[in-house]
Every structure is written in C-alpha cells, then in structure tokens.
Symmetry: C2
Subunit: 430 residues, 2 copies
C-alpha cells in the first residue's frame, strides 16, 4: 500500500485500491474530511459540506457487492450546479438555502458511477466576477482565481480528488493555473449542462479540476460512457502550434519563461514547433465575448434584476445594467464574429496536433478582491475548443504557473492524450 | 372599436388599443378567460391557470402610468419552462406541485415588457412523445400535435394571443401546423433557455406560437431588444428554394397540394422558384437527431432515471434506457454529422432568399395517443436554422395544413419579413 495519504492519491489509484479491497470509500472520504478540518479555516473552499452525510454516502457504496467505475471517488461541485441533497446557493443571498429538486446531469451521472459527492465548492457570485471567501492554498493572501475558486483551491489543496467548475471566460483554467491543479474545459456542450445556472449560454462550459490528466480522463469516461483516451508512445513526435494569442502583452515574466521553457524542452523531447498567428479578426473576440456575456446574462437574470436587485453585488449589477440596455444588433454581430471565427479553426490548426498557449497572465496576484484577467482563457472559450491547463512551472513567489494546451472541437480524447505526454516531459510544478 | 372579440385580435392590435386607451389589460385578460371557460373542457390546453391571479396581474398593469412595449398581451407558457408564481410540472407526477424559484429568462423578459402570464400550457411528458390530454380545437378526436400541444391549441383556439413552445424535433411547428397557428422556431439559442427543462441541449430551441407573423415579430422584438422586422414591398420578387427534403415520401396528399399550390401562387406573385436538393448525407440527420436526443436526454434525466423510474411513462423509459446504454462514439459521430451539415448550409441556400418546405406530413391525424411524425420539422431543428410554419391551407377533413419557410442562421428578421409577404400572397386557412 502507498505511503501517500489517501486524500493525496490520484482518483485512478483510489478506484484501483478500492476495487482491490486495499481501502474503502469511507476511508478515502474520511481522509478528505480530515484535510478539510485541518485547512478549511484558511482556504475557505467549501460553500456547503456535511461530513456525516458524506461518510454515509461512502458507507452505502462500501456495502455494495459490485464495484462501480468511479467507486468511492470524492467529488466537489461548484455551487452554481444543482444538487438534490445539498443547497445550491450561487454565492448570493438571493439563493440562500435554495434546494434544487434534482441533481444536475453531471452530478447524477458521476453519483450513479459511484462518486461520493463531498460538498459544494465556493463560486464567485453567480459564476461572475465578485469573489467568494476562498484563498489560494499556497499563499492565503493571494487569489485562488475564479470563478471556480473553491473547486481549484480544494483540489489543489488535497481536500478532494476532483471537482466540477464552469467556464464562461476563464473560470476553470485560471483557478487551476493559480492553484496548481489541472483545469480541463471540454468542447462546448460536451458535459451536459442541465441543472447548471447559466451565466451566458453561448459560452458556459462545465469543466473539471483534477490533479492529474488521467483523473480528468477517468471522470470524462464516466460522464460520457467512453473508454479512457489512448496513451501516446513516449517517443511520439507531435507537431505543436506555439500561439502567443492577441493578449501576449498581458504575459508576466513567469508566463513568458513558462512558454519558452516548455517550447525548448518539448522540442528536445522530439516535438516540432510551429508558430501560429491567429487571424487579425480574432483580436476582437475578447470584446465579442464581453458582449455575449452581458447580453445573455441580463436575460438569464432578468427575474432577479426585476425583483431582487438590492441583493446583488455592484459588479453584477453593472453587468446586468449594461446587458439590459444593450441592443440586439451588436449582440448579433458578436455572435456572428464568434461563428465566423470558429469556422476558421481548421485553417488555424493547420497540421498541428495541438496548440500551446499561455494559461494565465502569471502567478496568482496578491489580494482577494480580484480573481485575475480572463483573456488568456476567454479567447479559447468563445471558440468552443477543448483546452487544458497544466501546472508545469513556478513563479517568483513560489506559486504555480501553468501552460495551456488547446485541441480541435470534439477531439477531446486526442487533447487529453497529448496532455499526458506533455506532463510526462515537463513534470508538475511541485 | 373593433367588432372582433378582444381574445381574437392579434397582439399587435391589443398593444395599440391599450396604448390608445381603447381597452384595458383587464378586459383583454377577461376575454381570454371567458374563452377558456367556454372551451377548456373540450380542448384541455392548460396545465395550470388561476383566473383571479391573471386578472390581478392585468389590473396592476392597468394601474401603471407609462405603457410598456407589450402592455397587457396575454401569454401562455409551456409547462417545461419555469415560472416563479406558478408550478412547473412537466406533465409528470415526478414534478407534481413543483414550484421554481425564478421565472425562466424568456418569461421574466416578457413579463417586464408588460405581458400578462396567463398560465401554463400542457406539454407532452418532459417535452417528449407521451401526450397530455390536449385535443385539436378543430376536431377533438384529432391530435393537436406535440409536444407544445397546449400552446398550439390555446393560441389557435383564441384562448391566448401567444405562447412559448419548445422544439427538439418538431414540437413547435407540428402543433402549429395541426392546430392552424403560426409556429416559429428561431435560430438555435436565440431565445435564452435559462429556466427551460432540457430534453436534448444540442437541439432544444424555445419558440413561439402566435396567430400572425406580426405577433411573432412583436414578441421577438421584446425578447431581444430589437426593432420590428422590415415589411417587404408588395411587389418584392424573392428567389425561393423549393425543398421537398429527404422525407417527401411521408407527405400526405394535402401536403403535396399545399406545396404545389403555394409554389404556383408565389410564382404568380413574382417569386422565382429554384429547386433545392439537400446533400445525400443530410438523409442521415434524422437518425443523428435520434442519437442526440437519446444520449442527451438520458443525461438530463439521470437523477429521475436513478430515483423515480417507476413514475415515468414507458415512452420516455425506453428512450432513457437506450440513451443510458449508448456509447459515446456514435453520439460523437452524430454531433459531427450535424456540425458538418451546418457548415454546408451556405451552399445549400445558394442565392435563394428562403426555403419553402412541408410543415408536416399532412392534417392532424385522428387519435390522441400519437402527436405525429417529427421528421419534416426535425430535419431543420438539427441544422439550427430559423423556421416558421404558416397555416395557409386546409385538408380533406377541414383541418389546417401548413407550409414551412426556412431561413439562414441568425437571419431571423429576414425570415419573418418574407413570412409576412408569403402570408399576404397565400392568405390564412380560415
């Protein structure tokens, strides 16, 4: 048996060990709960957790004769995703104590596959920009990123093995990069969104925060009823598209170093590096994303805007005001630009196997009032492509720095396969 | 003042009359309620209605000094769309008495624009294939079509001026065609879906049932914050793509006649008719649509399937069983075919202004156990294009027969403009 505590092992090991009788779902859940007890006062990753109930779920699983595919894997759920047995409160007083009738699709499927739904993780208010209380587990004075703040912090801090996040701009990959987790945003619409409170429907994508690529792949296999993605040979020779994007001026020194070092070492490992310049028109996608975000969110939240305006943060109130007064024509122009850009993706990718891009501007910034700039993540979100951030590097303050790999739409397994290969070559930050 | 009863007038007239002080929201609502009293025993269009509460909403509007853009227009809401003040029951015992916390986006927006939310209309169970009690208002032994059965019947029977429906296969256009209403399915995702219980997220589109094209346009202008679409000159000379689709063998004699007669008369009115043959690969879209539908619905309903299976109809249980056991690969193939087909639409449309296609196989069939074949509608739903059915013709049993006009994605206003022109040339069935 491993010397590594159960809460620190990857989910792939947990499933194997439970299946072999080397441990139990209860022991794994207890290890997570112990870690949470020890750290939650500082990290503040959880919006709701009931230890007894979590253990009760685990014991029921332990009592079953047949093992399920994700038997005993503890999972956190961002608090904008419905759970039938726990409140879903959107980090907003307007949803205080709100109890959905059913589990969201993604929760119900993992639960049926044997996962233990450990609790709800802190989100920014309605998965927007107004932060919850969560801190960066590696330095409590720094932001964990957002809006999937609790999911990023809890997974990176070994409180839980995997967690659902959602990304409308950069809300999965940024917290993953800042906290030092793997952040995977699948192709748009790949993880079923039933039971998710939308922010902007044309952008919102449910994603995963895990500690390994294998764990993201394992959870996806359960969600989609598909085999695990193929492991590529160690001596594979990918063609990698190096893409600095239109936001390169935002890159801090540590992000520049992470990109240069990754390029160098992947080249040494056998990769061919091809510089990719995005079409000039893609520079407008950031503005287009804001337009989609404002227009659509003002519709999603029309009821709250009419009836509970005084309980909303100033951040979101400003956005709703802007979206509500916005005309349809600029919105349609933004949608058209997004559609036209997606249609150019085949040309952009050319013959590369995947794109390498910055995951975030740099290390997690100091302060808890701002979760960081979303543009390095958002420019891919609006393109609906699958992307993953890998915590491969470290910055000047000892905090993690990630890189981002981007794949073709609906070719998520290929991206995950290459991600595994890249991690093998570059290693993980700590 | 008009001699036509208030409940029979188009919404455009209602707004004008209320604005002019010629009538009140209360009087309009009362006229609808009277019609419902007289007919509901036979038509069974409503899942929930509280007359006093409807009148109370109208009186509040009447008390306001400034008139809102849709002031006093009564609207029905398909019972898979959330309402904060009325239960949302999905025509399923599993949702009996279920009370959502907030209005769906589309409901909240129309309400803020001054609409009176009259009540909830009967849906097939979870917007699927198992019918509710609604009958065809023109012959109670015939199906109203589905799954937006109550919305189609209520609007066509002058119980309400407009209603929301949803279309995953043919659930807006088929009831519209069978009941003799205008059925408009906008571009996929154009009407915000927040607060809709999904069936299959890649297909589900919220649409409108109205009695005139102008009314559909009016409601869209409120939903999207856009001006009314332009009226085309009487002597416009459109290029019309005549498209029999891959399902022409399903067309009953009355549908064949409706298509021939429309072509003839629109040609006479000045249109150029161009035959459009869909690519051979489009013949597989019907199967692909079924794959999307089964795979995605089994995810949406995973919680109910695990926990309340015994309360689901055999229809939906079969679908969930099929979707749950389905592998990811055929699902991804279906999505890929859909994406590839959408990418060919520019070529399909060529230089035509819009496509003319059958709306349904024929008149509403006899019997209330089957709401009719969805393929003439579904082949366009999966393409995400805006489509509208116009009740222009009559069948051998005196029931309405529609035609369908299809536009380019995100060019809904153009389609509505041409629809108005076509109705002017062909007239409405009665």
């Amino acid at each position: 048996m491993s010397q590594v505590p159960l809460n620190e092992l990857p989910a792939t090991d947990i499933v194997r060990m439970i299946s072999d009788g080397a441990t139990t779902a209860e022991a794994v859940t207890q290890a997570c709960l112990d870690r949470i007890s020890a750290r939650e006062n500082d990290v503040k990753a959880w919006a709701y957790i009931d230890p007894d109930y979590a253990l009760a779920q685990a014991r029921i699983l332990d009592g079953e004769e047949t093992k399920r595919p994700l038997h005993g894997v503890p999972i956190g759920v961002k608090d904008v995703i419905d759970t039938a047995d726990m409140p879903t409160q959107m980090e907003s007083p307007t949803y205080e104590g709100h109890q959905p009738k059913t589990d969201a699709a993604c929760v119900a499927i993992l639960r049926a596959a044997g996962a233990v739904i450990l609790g709800k993780t802190v989100t920014c208010e309605f998965a927007g920009s107004f932060p919850g209380a969560t801190t960066n587990p590696h330095n409590f004075d720094h932001t964990p990123g957002g809006s999937s703040s609790g999911s990023g912090a809890a997974v990176a801090d070994f409180m839980v093995h995997g967690a659902f996040g959602t990304q409308t701009g950069g809300s999965v990959l940024r917290p993953a990069s800042f906290c030092g987790a793997v952040g995977y945003k699948p192709t748009y619409n790949l993880i079923n969104r039933s039971g998710l409170m939308f922010a902007a429907e044309n952008l919102d994508t449910i994603g995963l925060l895990t500690r390994t690529v294998d764990d993201a792949d394992l959870l996806m296999s359960g969600l989609l009823n598909r085999p695990l993605s193929k492991t590529l040979p160690n001596d594979a020779k990918p063609r990698i598209g190096l893409c600095h994007t239109h936001h390169w001026d935002l890159a801090q020194p540590e992000t520049i170093t992470a990109m240069e070092d990754s390029t160098e070492r992947l080249k040494f490992a056998g990769a061919a590096i091809v510089e990719i310049t995005l079409p000039e028109s893609f520079a407008n996608l950031s503005k287009a994303r804001n337009a989609l975000n404002d227009f659509e969110r003002s519709r999603v939240m029309a009821d709250l805007w009419q009836n509970e305006r005084d309980q909303l943060s100033e951040n979101i109130a400003k956005q709703l005001e802007s979206g509500t007064s916005m005309d349809y024509a600029p919105y349609r122009d933004a949608v058209t630009l997004a559609n036209d850009s997606r249609a150019q993706l085949d040309d952009v990718f050319g013959d590369v196997d995947f794109i390498l891009a910055p995951a975030a501007s740099g290390e997690a910034p100091e302060g808890l009032n701002y979760t960081g700039d979303p543009q390095f993540q958002g420019c891919w979100t609006i393109l609906h492509v699958p992307t993953i951030s890998l915590p491969t590097h470290t910055g000047p303050n000892g905090l993690p720095v990630g890189i981002q790999l981007v794949g073709r739409r609906w070719q998520d397994e290929t991206l995950l396969g290459w991600s595994r290969w890249v991690v093998q070559k570059l290693g993980i930050w700590r």
